[in-house]
């Protein structure tokens, strides 16, 4: 009781010094929480964008398509009723849509740009993806249309507007070159920058006839589920079901399988956060060692008197350790408080990367455009607060023992 009382009062004996060290710890905690919130928000939005605009929750295709994406037209299949029924039986199933992806060069005037053409069945495509919600000009496809919906960046590069004519130059299944021509029906500005530049949407039946394949032939089935986390587990069970009981040669990938780079980025992002936090905490730890050494030098006669009174070395270590932990608690609380304010702002107002860095997200391959919103991560508050207190406590131990082992005579007479 008295040891804690002495320790806590000593904490405020040099309030300026206490505040500086607590401030360093607070900054570390604040920075860590904000970075975690920001990274989590960025990942959340990235995964959502990939799911909503590109991969859906599940994608079913021939295994060769995932292994060799060079020529998707080599890996076509026709989804049978029993396959579709099996998919619909999945718990959490919402909708499915067929997709026929192939590569082409888009020509407009003298400009040419390589694109991925996504041939889609407009009605079911709308049930799985949100592309159509982000049209800034024109309309989305109708079944049988020969038109094309493109992204705003591609429209800018090729100087295209709704109503302009386009030409798609592609290689047929047999290898000969062919073209598709038509009108630009709509321009979309999605939050997924990749879709605004490198992908164009065309009606599946129109594309099939141009490609010379059957209208039922596709190379992927995209499936929307109610929950993205359970979708990862469902992908395995569905693949077992399709390849096992139905004896079909299919591979089922979840959104996570096609987000390798993002998953790696998430891991690296976390490592980077922990590295930066460790560096700042190291500065805090040095500060705490400094505080304990300075305090013990200032209070050397006091330590001597306590030892004369019969206080054990362990009890003296306890006083300094409580004091240092107090520093950790103050720093941790200030940091967590500031972190809560920062997180609230990030969650509600967000952070516009483009304001600072322009279109850097496109270059970095982050599938987010515009404002990034944070995500509340209560566990990071607990983890980083505990980390601050633990670092403070551990870094105080050696100088505390050094102080506690002082010879009582030397300490009392300040030799």
């Amino acid at each position: 009781m008295y040891l804690s009382k002495i320790a806590l009062r000593n904490l405020f004996r040099r309030s300026g010094r206490t505040l500086i060290i607590a401030g360093v710890l607070a900054f570390a905690i604040f920075f860590a929480i904000i970075l975690e919130t920001f990274m989590a928000g960025m990942m959340e939005m990235s995964f959502s964008n990939i799911i909503d605009f590109d991969s859906a929750h599940l994608q079913i295709a021939r295994p060769e398509l995932f292994a060799d994406n060079e020529d998707p037209l080599d890996h076509l299949f026709t989804p049978t009723e029993e396959v579709l029924t099996e998919i619909e039986k999945l718990p959490g199933f919402v909708a499915t849509t067929p997709v026929l992806d192939f590569s082409a060069n888009m020509l407009a005037g003298r400009e040419e740009y390589p694109v991925r053409v996504r041939a889609a069945a407009p009605a079911s495509f709308k049930e799985v993806f949100r592309y159509q919600d982000y049209l800034i000009e024109g309309d989305f496809l109708q079944a049988g249309d020969s038109g094309l919906v493109i992204g705003m960046n591609l429209a800018e590069i090729l100087d295209l507007q709704v109503g302009d004519f386009y030409t798609l130059l592609f290689r047929e299944e047999g290898g000969s070159l062919n073209t598709i021509q038509g009108e630009i029906l709509g321009i979309a500005a999605t939050p997924e920058p990749g879709m605004n530049l490198g992908t164009v949407i065309i009606d599946q039946s129109f594309a099939a006839s141009a490609l010379g394949v059957s209208s039922s032939e596709i190379n992927q089935l995209k499936v929307k589920m109610t929950d993205r986390h359970s979708a990862v587990a469902r992908s395995e069970s569905l693949e077992k079901q399709l390849t096992g009981s139905l004896a079909k040669d299919f591979q089922v990938n979840s959104w996570r399988d096609v987000s390798d780079m993002l998953v790696a980025m998430e891991v690296w992002g976390q490592l980077e956060t922990y590295f930066i936090v460790a560096l700042i905490l190291l500065v805090g730890a040095i500060g705490i060692i400094n505080v304990v050494v300075l305090s013990s030098l200032e209070r050397v006669e006091e330590i001597g008197m306590m030892k004369a009174m019969g206080l054990s070395e362990k009890q003296i270590v306890k006083i300094f350790s409580i004091e240092a932990s107090g520093l950790g608690v103050i720093g941790g609380l200030i940091g967590a408080g500031l972190g809560a304010v920062g997180t609230y702002l990030l969650v509600n107002i967000g952070f516009d990367l483009q304001l600072l860095y322009g279109d850097i997200t496109l270059e970095l391959g982050i599938p987010i455009l515009g404002t990034i919103y944070g995500v509340w991560k209560p566990q990071s508050f607990i983890i980083f607060f505990t980390l601050a207190v633990t670092v403070a406590l551990i870094s105080s131990l050696i100088p505390s023992y050094w102080a506690a082992r002082k010879d009582p005579v030397d300490a009392i007479y300040h030799r």
Partner: protein, 249 residues
Amino acid sequence: MLVVSLNSEKKINQKLENSVLVSLDSVKKTYEDGKISVRALRGIDLKIAEGEFTTVYGPSGSGKTTLLNLIGALDKPSEGQVKINGSIINELDRNGLALLRRDNIGFVFQSYNLIPVLTAYENVEFALKISSSNNGNPVRNSKERSAQILEQVGLGDMLDRRPNELSGGQKQRVAIARALVKEPRLVLADEPTANLDSKTSKEVLEIMLEMNSKLKTTFIFSTHDPMVMEYAGRLLEIRDGKITREERR
């Protein structure tokens, strides 16, 4: 007649032997300061009985403080043996010495050495709490006892003052109260009046004398101050690390 005298001296010595609290036997203390050896004590033989009010005096550097540090179990001798309340301090480790000090000895220093973040009352109660926290036996009525002893040293109305709000004399009274509150068998006071004016010194000494007679606490002082010597029941002069004169009053 001679036989009777010898017998009574024997009885006195026997009685003294039984009540000896501190005993030093051929004690030497040498400090190593780099290549130089400083012989602070050069062979001290001394017995102090319970309830004695002893003053050690002598010039600066004569070895007074070193002697008190050994008697206070703050230090160990280089040679010889120091026994306090039956415990030979040469044989104790740091924790053993700490326990011996905690259970038997109270200290009063020239520079008071109060804990600045605690009030006068808390400084005194802390001494009691250390004992209870270490041996697991809670001290009864610690609050009353602490307040009472501060009342006895004339600080009943200053319980909540911190050391920086007290005068030198008041601080020394708190230090005395702190030393006495756990009712130790021995109180060591190293030049307790050195920083005090003569009036305050007198008051402080009166308090200690009163405690000596009331509680039968053994007091050992080191001092330069002739006034302190006037109060002593036993005077020990120390010069160049040896006791050169002894006087009982």
